[in-house]
């Protein structure tokens, strides 16, 4: 039981760090794309809109990364019930992508 007091804090600060850095990164990419689209419309490669799309993609990947991280941590701690929950969440998210491709 004593290990439960220290381990969750480590998970939580790790997740906090990843979410913070990811938010900044995606925001900066979107901002760069928007600036690019203002000044170099259509002439630059990649175009502003493509950079913005990449930033949006990063934002969508960030929660997925968070679930993968949690899955890894739960597996490492041999906490298989919660690892299974994380795996189910991941599968559902991937099913969402599949659904989007099918209904295009």
């Amino acid at each position: 039981m004593s290990s439960r007091r220290t381990k969750p804090v480590r998970i939580e600060s790790l997740l906090a760090g990843v979410l913070n850095v990811g938010t900044w990164l995606a925001s900066i990419v979107i901002a760069a794309g928007l600036v690019l689209s203002l000044f170099h419309e259509r002439r630059s490669i990649p175009t502003g809109a493509q950079v913005v799309t990449a930033g949006i993609g990063l934002f969508i990947l960030l929660p997925i990364l968070r679930v993968i991280l949690m899955l890894t941590i739960f597996v490492k701690e041999r906490d298989y019930k919660f690892a299974a929950a994380a795996a189910v969440v991941l599968l559902i998210i991937f099913a969402g992508f599949a659904l989007g491709t099918l209904s295009k």
């Binding site: 969750p8 804090v9 998970i11 939580e12 600060s13 997740l15 906090a16 760090g17 979410l19 913070n20 990811g22 938010t23 995606a26 925001s27 979107i30 901002a31 794309g33 928007l34 689209s37 203002l38 809109a49 493509q50 913005v52 799309t53 930033g55 949006i56 993609g57 934002f59 969508i60 960030l62 929660p63 997925i64 968070r66 679930v67 949690m70 019930k81 919660f82 929950a85 994380a86 189910v88 969440v89 559902i92 998210i93 991937f94 099913a95 969402g96 992508f97 659904l99 989007g100 491709t101 209904s103 295009k104």
Partner: protein, 286 residues
Amino acid sequence: MNIGTELWLFAVSLGASALGGMLGMASGIFIVPVLTTCGHLEIRSAIGASIVSVIACSCGSAAPFLKGRFTNVRLAIVLETATTAGALSGVLLVGVIRASYLFFIFGMILLLSAYQMLAKRRDPALGPIQPLTGRSMARRLDSSYPDRALGRDIAYRVERLPMGMILMYGAGLISALLGIGSGVLKVPAMDTALRLPIKVSSATSNFMICVTAAASAGAYFVRGDIVAPIAGPVALGSVVGAILGARFLMSISNDRIRLLFVVVLVALAALMFHSAFGPDLLGRTA
């Protein structure tokens, strides 16, 4: 897409997100009505843009709650199986549902938010924790959080998990359908079913929003429903607005501000109902 439109989208989202952040609400609930009524955007483009901003705000604001040990990450991952399943159902539904119905449901959600703003939330009475009994999965969700006023950790239990899961499924569905964080529906699930302390339920619900939204945003992104020149400025504006909103965080107990928000929410609901039933918009429904 010209500079004016980009700036307008950025400014509107910044305002909506700052407004929402002041009261601890997600920005999506303001963004979709403003984009559709003032910006004359098609509701599905507005939803696509809004869902990205919902992810951005949830990810961007999670860190302090995690570090403060308010977020129950185990409970979050269990409930997320229900919210993402709901989101998937919402993605299936949004393709077949008429736009006028979307406006109508949005109006109802706004009214529900207004009602919740009027009714104050109270912490459920935390009785003495009973000794552990079977049902190991549910009991492993029990945790504690630091209470600054009392200066010690308060232990809490998670109750009625199946009921909470059902309500979370509904919250996920509405989140995907309307492009909102759906905190409005998570609050009753957390308060009345799971009986969590407010600080824990706010932090955990906020933590779950980005994963729930990712399930539907992934589908909308591949499908091409997320228009970069609209979603980009909206997401960026929301992040900046959320930072500003947290700075000027006002006390929710301030009755005058609450009343102002109730008026805003009811007015937006009226606009949504007008879009749902208005004669000039009937031809636009797909």
